[in-house]
Symmetry: C2
Subunit: 499 residues, 2 copies
C-alpha cells in the first residue's frame, strides 16, 4: 500500500514535471519570437533615436504585463524603469539589465544584417541556417540565435518578461516586489548612472539588486557573481623635439619620447607582471575560506592558456581567480611615430601610452592614479595636464602629459551574505548541479552606484552562454540558455526567503 | 711709375672681376631656366617611367656638353653615367648626385604643382610670386625657386652642367678628368648601388669622389663634409594573448606585450640617452685635434635647442658635433593596441618598436644589431625571425620577433687628407670666408660603396641653402646658391692640385 502510494506520488510528480517542461518550452518559443522582434530595433547608444525606439518597445511590453513604467531623464540618455504594484509585506528585488548594444560592422558578420536575427544549427564545423518554422515541432537547445544583443543584454530582458508570463500561467505567487531598471548606454560606460541613482533613490529602493549581464561560467554551470572590478584609465604622453626630426641629424641629440615612455612604463611592473609601485596592492587580504571559494571555481587553466596561446600567465595571483582579486595596470595602447612599412627615419615628437586600471573594492581609483603619478615623478618627470607650452619646454626637461579617465567603482558583496546563500540553494535545487561562485569578476558592470549610494547588496546572475561573442561580430544566444534563464528567474521570483 | 702700374693692374683686375661676375650672372640665369625645365619632369623613384624620362633629359643635356653618356642597368632602376674624354696625364674626379626626388603631396604645397617651379621673393613674413621675366634685368640673390628637387638634388646637377658651359666660355682648362654618376633612387636608399659599384668599377675608377647633396652648414658658410653616418634598422615585436583580450577578464593574467616591449627598450639606454648595451661605442676615440675641428663648427646650440624646443639634449656627446661621432639607437616608432579616442579596454596581442641605428665607421651595422639582439636575450627573451607559431608559444614564454633592415655603411675620409686641404684652400680663396669642416654628418648618403669598394677618398660639397625644405612641401633653392654652386664647381674643376 505504501509502495503504491509512493509510485502514485512519483508518477504525479513526473506528470507535473512533464507539464512544467511543456509550459516552459512554449514560453521559450515565445521568448524567441519576442527577442527577434526586439533585436530588430537597432540599439547603438551612439544613436539616441535608436534608444528612444527601444524604450517605446519596452514600455509596451512591460505595460502589457501589468508593470507601471517610467522613462527617467538623466544627464545622458534616459533610463527605463518598471515595477509591479507593491505589497509592503514583501521584500523588494531590483533587477538591472541594459538594452543598448555595441556598434555593429555588418561586413564582419556572417549574416547581412546584425539586427535581423538568424537561427542556426551546427553540423560539424559549419553553422547552417534554418527558418524559424523549424522550431514548430521541437526546439533543439543547441541551436543558436545570431544577432546583436541576443545575449548582451536583450536576451535576459525578454527572458524576464516571459518568466512573468509563465508565473502567471502556472498560478504561482511572486515572493517579492519586483522592480527593474534598464540602462540605455551601458556599452558607453553609463556615465549618467551615478547621478541618476541618487536622483531616483526612492524609486529604486530595494532589498536586493540582481544584475543579469554577461555569461555564466565557461563550464556552463549555474553561476553567481558577488562583485565586479571597477575601471579607470590614464593616458601618458612624453615629448621629444617639437616636430618629428630627421634621425640622422638629431639621433643622439634630441631626446627620444619613445625611450622616455618605455623607461617610465618599464619600472611600473616586474618581469612577471606584478606592480612594483609602492602601495598599489595595499589593503588586499584573502582569508583561507575566500581562497577556498576561489579555488572551487572549475576553471581549466590549460584550456585558458591554450585559448590565449600563452605558456605562463602573469604572477599577480597564483591562479586565474586569485589574479582577479587585485587591481590591474594594463598597457592597452602605445603609439609613437610610425611602424611597419610606414616607418620613417625620424626622432618622433611624442609618444603616448594608454593605461587601464581595473579596480577592486580595496583599491580606490583616485588613489591608484595618484600612485602612478608619483611613480612618474619619481623617475624625474614633471606632470602637466595639458600639452606643455614652448615656455614650459624651455624651463624644464621631461614633461609628461597625464590625462585621467573617470572612475567606475568596483563592488563586492560578501560571500557570506544570506541572500547569496538563498540564491545558491535555489539554483542547486533547480538544476541539480554544483553552483559556481565568483567572488569578483574581472570585467566592469557600472552598477557600483547602486551598491555604494543605495547600499543594496548586489549579485550578478548571468543567464547566457559563455561563447556568445559578446561585443564582437556574430553575437549569439544558445536556445538552451533561454530555458535556463526562465527557470532561474522563475525560481528567484517565486521562492520565498528562508526556503 | 710703380704706383701707376699698380693702379692699372688693380683696374684690370677689377674689370676682369666685373666681367666674370657678368658671365656668372648670365650662367645663373641659364641655370634657372634649365632647372625649371628639369624639375618639370616628375622624378618619384616609386615610378620607374618618371626615372626613364629624367634619364632621357640627362642624356641630351650631357651629350650637348660633349660628355659620353651611358645608362647603367642595375638590379633596380638604372644609373646615369657621363664622362668627358679622358686625358691620362690628369687626375680624375668622380661626381655623385641624384636626380630622383621625394614623393609629393600637392595639397601640402603653397603652389598647385610641385613640378611646376614658382619664383618667389619675401616681403616681410609673406612670400610673393613673380613671373620669370622679373629676372631679365637683375637676379636678386635672395629670391627663391620653389619646386620638388630644386635643391635635392636637381639644382646641383644643373649647376654642374652650367659650370662646364662657363669654363668653356672663359677658355679655362679643366685640371681633372671629369666623370659623373647620377643615382635614380637615392630617396629609396639606393639599394642597387653596392652591387653596381662593383660591376662598373672600371668605369667609375677615379682619384677623388665629390658628392653634392644636402645643404651647406646652417651658418651659410662654405662647407666641406668628410663623411656621413650609415644606417640600419631593426623591428621588434612582442606578444601577449593571440588575439586582443578584454582587459577585465585578462588584465593581471595575459602577459602584456606593451609592458614587455617597454622593459626591453628601457634598459638599452640610460636616462640621458647614452646606450648601455656593452660594446656599442667600442673603437670610437677622438683626438684633441679632432675635437678641435668639431668645436670649430659654428653651431649655435641655443638656436638648435630653441628650434627643437628642447632644454637639454641627450648626453652622448658633450655638444652637437661630438654627438654625431657616435652611433645612435633611435626609437622611431611604437605601436600596440589603440590610443586616443580609439583606445579600447583590451590586453593587446602584440607591440612593435621600430629602431634605427645610425652608424659610424667604427660601428659595423651587423655588429651593433647583434649587440642589440644579445641585450634582448639577456632580458630573458627568445628571438625569432618570424611570427611565433602556436607550438613555439606553447613551448616557451617571451618571444620577440626581430627583423633587420639592410645596412648602409658609414664612411669618413681623414680630416688630414691632402685633397681636403686642397678643397679648403680653394673655397677660402674663392669666397674669402672661413670654411666649415664637418668630420661626419648625422644623415646618410648611400655612397659608402664607392669609398669601401673602390677605395676612393670622398668629400661632400653641399651647394644649396640650409633652409631648403628638403623632403618636405615647399622645397626651394635660393638663387644666390646657384652663384655659389657655379663658383665652387668652377674652382674645383679648374684649380690644379698643389695650387
Amino acid at each position: 500500500m505504501r509502495k503504491q502510494l509512493l509510485i502514485c506520488f512519483l508518477m504525479a510528480g513526473l506528470w507535473s514535471q512533464a507539464q512544467d517542461n511543456a509550459l516552459i518550452k512554449t514560453q521559450v518559443r515565445h521568448t524567441i519570437d519576442e527577442l527577434v522582434e526586439f533585436v530588430a530595433i537597432p540599439n547603438d547608444a551612439l544613436n539616441p533615436s535608436d534608444i528612444n525606439r527601444n524604450i517605446t518597445w519596452l514600455s509596451d511590453k512591460f505595460s502589457d504585463r501589468g508593470f507601471n513604467t517610467s522613462v527617467l531623464p538623466t544627464d545622458g540618455l534616459p533610463l527605463f524603469f518598471a515595477a509591479l504594484p507593491m505589497d509592503s509585506k514583501k521584500p523588494t528585488l531590483l533587477f538591472y539589465m541594459h538594452f543598448d548594444g555595441q556598434s555593429v560592422d555588418p561586413s564582419k558578420w556572417d549574416q547581412p544584417d546584425p539586427y535581423k536575427t538568424v537561427l542556426k544549427s551546427r553540423s560539424g564545423e559549419q553553422w547552417q541556417e534554418h527558418p524559424f518554422s523549424d522550431l514548430d515541432e521541437d526546439i533543439p537547445y543547441d541551436w543558436r540565435l545570431y544577432g546583436r544583443s541576443t545575449s548582451d543584454d536583450k536576451g535576459p530582458i525578454v527572458m524576464f518578461l516571459n518568466t512573468i508570463d509563465l508565473i502567471r500561467k502556472t498560478g504561482q505567487d511572486l515572493s517579492f516586489n519586483v522592480k527593474i531598471i534598464l540602462d540605455g548606454e551601458e556599452e558607453k560606460s553609463s556615465a549618467p548612472l551615478p547621478a541618476a541613482v541618487v536622483q531616483y533613490r526612492e524609486l529604486l529602493e530595494a532589498d536586493y539588486l540582481i544584475i543579469s549581464d554577461g555569461p555564466v561560467h565557461v563550464s556552463g554551470q549555474p553561476t553567481i557573481v558577488y562583485g565586479c572590478r571597477g575601471i579607470t584609465s590614464m593616458s601618458l604622453t612624453t615629448y621629444g623635439p617639437i616636430l618629428p626630426q630627421h634621425s640622422g641629424h638629431y639621433g643622439n641629440y634630441a631626446p627620444n619620447p619613445g625611450m622616455q615612455l618605455s623607461q617610465i612604463l618599464a619600472g611600473m611592473k616586474d618581469s612577471e607582471g606584478r606592480v612594483l609601485i609602492p602601495g598599489y596592492y595595499d589593503g588586499i587580504e584573502l582569508t583561507t575560506q575566500e581562497v577556498d571559494v576561489l579555488k572551487a571555481v572549475p576553471d581549466d587553466p590549460e584550456q585558458i592558456n591554450r585559448a590565449l596561446q600563452i605558456r605562463t600567465p602573469e604572477k599577480v595571483g597564483a591562479f586565474y581567480q586569485e589574479a582577479l582579486q587585485y587591481p590591474s595596470l594594463n598597457v592597452r595602447g602605445l603609439s609613437s611615430g610610425w611602424v611597419g612599412p610606414e616607418a620613417r627615419t625620424i626622432v618622433p615628437a611624442t609618444a603616448t601610452a594608454e593605461l587601464d586600471l581595473r579596480l577592486v573594492p580595496e583599491s580606490d581609483g583616485a588613489r591608484l592614479k595618484s600612485l602612478v603619478r608619483k611613480h612618474i615623478e619619481s623617475k624625474g618627470y614633471r606632470i602637466t595636464e595639458t600639452v606643455p607650452s614652448a615656455e614650459m619646454r624651455a624651463s624644464a626637461d621631461r614633461w609628461v602629459t597625464v590625462s585621467e579617465g573617470s572612475v567606475t567603482d568596483a563592488f563586492r558583496t560578501s560571500l557570506n551574505h544570506p541572500f547569496g546563500a538563498h540564491l545558491k540553494t535555489l539554483l542547486t535545487d533547480t538544476f541539480s548541479q554544483p553552483v559556481v561562485q565568483i567572488r569578483i569578476m574581472g570585467g566592469t558592470v557600472p552598477i557600483a552606484p547602486f551598491v555604494n549610494a543605495l547600499e543594496i547588496p548586489a549579485f550578478l546572475l548571468p543567464l547566457v552562454n559563455p561563447d556568445n561573442n559578446q561585443h564582437s561580430p556574430n553575437e549569439n544566444l544558445k536556445l538552451g540558455q533561454i530555458d535556463y534563464g526562465i527557470r532561474t528567474l522563475q525560481a528567484i521570483l517565486t521562492t520565498p526567503l528562508g526556503e
